[in-house]
Amino acid sequence: MKRTFPLILLMLFGVFGILPSFLPHPVIQGADEFVRNDLLRIITAFALVLGLGSLLRLHFEKIKRHAENWPYSWILVITFFITSIIGLFGGISGHGILPTRIGSFPFDIQTLYLRIEVPLGATMFALLAFFMASASYRAFRARSTEATLLLSAAFVVMIGILPLGDRISHRLPAFAQWIMDLPLVAGQRGIGFGIALGGLATELKIILGIERSWLGGGE
């Protein structure tokens, strides 16, 4: 019952998900709309609440146990609550019950996003440029014919796609584009077929109840 009932539900909703593609009957379409617009939307919102709850629980545990780097958990929790309060009570456009400006200094949710989250998020990924340069220097070796092919294609594309490539030879950008249009497409399409067929097999196994890892452990 504890495993069977959810499996039956999954199968029913799985089959129901397939139906609208083949049955444009108003009853099916109407039910599909309710499932999408109401049921799934609200369930997804609760999933976020659960995710947030788990995150906060993890960090409160770290603080309680004085685990490694526990003071930083305070920073996370405090910034989370400050941002949430500003957003919830200040409103999306900053016109809520909480004032979001002191003189000419704004601190509405959009400002916090653009001035704190954007620089932080963007910089975290900007670090990858350095790591990639270091990794290319240390690990990229033309040990075999295949690796040499890979390296050569990379060099052609790296130069060909830029204006420098056009200056070196008018044919280079076209050649780089040809590499993208033909060998790359052939390789990716072949891999894509494998992924699509594998994904299809997995989806069928999930709907038919053969694949049950999503149930988790326990009874």
Binding site: T44, L114, M132, S134, Y137, R141, L162, P163
Partner: protein, 287 residues
């Protein structure tokens, strides 16, 4: 021997410093670069340019701060293009993080046009010329739901207005009134647009993607499922070039300005790879 060892053991911080220098210097001493437009970007430009007067364009802003440098210039260029041609625009996001960036893009472009406008007819008016629909999770909801009714999915827009009261939404009901949908995304969301929106409702899809995702999307461009493909900062620079060339739109080209930095950075990384390989082969020969 010492030289070979030095060659393969350059400290990573020196590599970081060199990379930072070759990227910063071209910004301080810019070199003008001539941009050659390739066919995937031209296809996207033409697809947008030929949107009929009674149809709309949907732009799905799905880039986060992490992808902003590559995708924001594309988004800005497309908004400029659409507003110049007086194409009706619907903007939406499929995730929460891009919302702020979508708003920032609109807040930048709309005043650009309105500052030059000499009458109401010239201006870009919210609700008449464009609507910011906002975000409704999960992604599948708007992708499938807009096939039946856009206002049913987005009952309120980003600013809280009821969408069925907006002038634009009285004529743009669903995908049947949309000629092109452009997805600006770092992930695989454009493939979801193709799989669900295009397959079921026949809407044309084009995409602007990060350079990392380019390989995944080229097969879909070749099969005709994408009407155009703009890849990374270079693609954005090509789109800016087309705006200037075909519509005589003169403005600061954010992506184009970065090409010299990219060029020198590429050359530096190629040099690192060559040095690393020289050291590797010399060591191997020694053994």
């Amino acid at each position: 021997m010492k030289f070979i060892e030095r060659l393969t053991a350059i400290d990573r911080r020196i590599i970081y410093l060199l990379l930072a220098l070759v990227t910063i210097l071209p910004m301080l001493f810019p070199i003008a670069q001539k941009v050659r437009v390739m066919s995937p970007v031209e296809k996207c430009f033409n697809a947008l340019d030929t949107i009929r007067a009674d149809k709309a364009l949907i732009i799905d802003f799905d880039y986060t701060p992490q992808d902003m440098p590559e995708l924001e210039p594309m988004g800005l260029a497309m908004l400029r293009h659409a507003f110049t041609r007086r194409i009706k625009v619907l903007v939406l996001c499929l995730y929460v993080q891009p919302l702020g960036l979508a708003q920032a893009a609109l807040d930048q472009i709309v005043p650009e046009f309105n500052n030059r406008a000499q009458s109401n007819a010239d201006s870009i008016i919210y609700g008449r010329d464009y609507v910011f629909l906002g975000w409704q999770p999960p992604p599948l909801i708007p992708i499938l739901g807009m096939g039946e009714s856009i206002t049913n999915v987005f009952k309120r827009d980003y600013y809280g207005n009821q969408t069925d009261t907006l002038f634009l939404m009285k004529t743009i009901k669903n995908y049947g009134n949309v000629e092109l949908l452009i997805s600006l995304s770092a992930g695989s969301i454009p493939l979801s647009w193709v799989a669900y929106a295009q397959n079921r409702f026949g809407v044309k899809i084009a995409t602007g993607c990060t350079s990392v995702s380019a390989g995944d999307f080229y097969p879909y461009l070749q099969s005709g499922q994408f009407s155009g493909l703009i890849v990374g900062m270079k693609g954005a620079a090509e789109y800016e070039e087309l705006l200037a060339r075909k519509l005589n739109f003169q403005t600061r080209r954010k992506a184009g300005e970065s090409l010299s930095s990219i060029t020198f950075a590429h050359l530096t990384i190629m040099l690192f790879i060559i040095i690393g390989n020289i050291g590797f082969f010399m060591k191997r020969r020694k053994k």
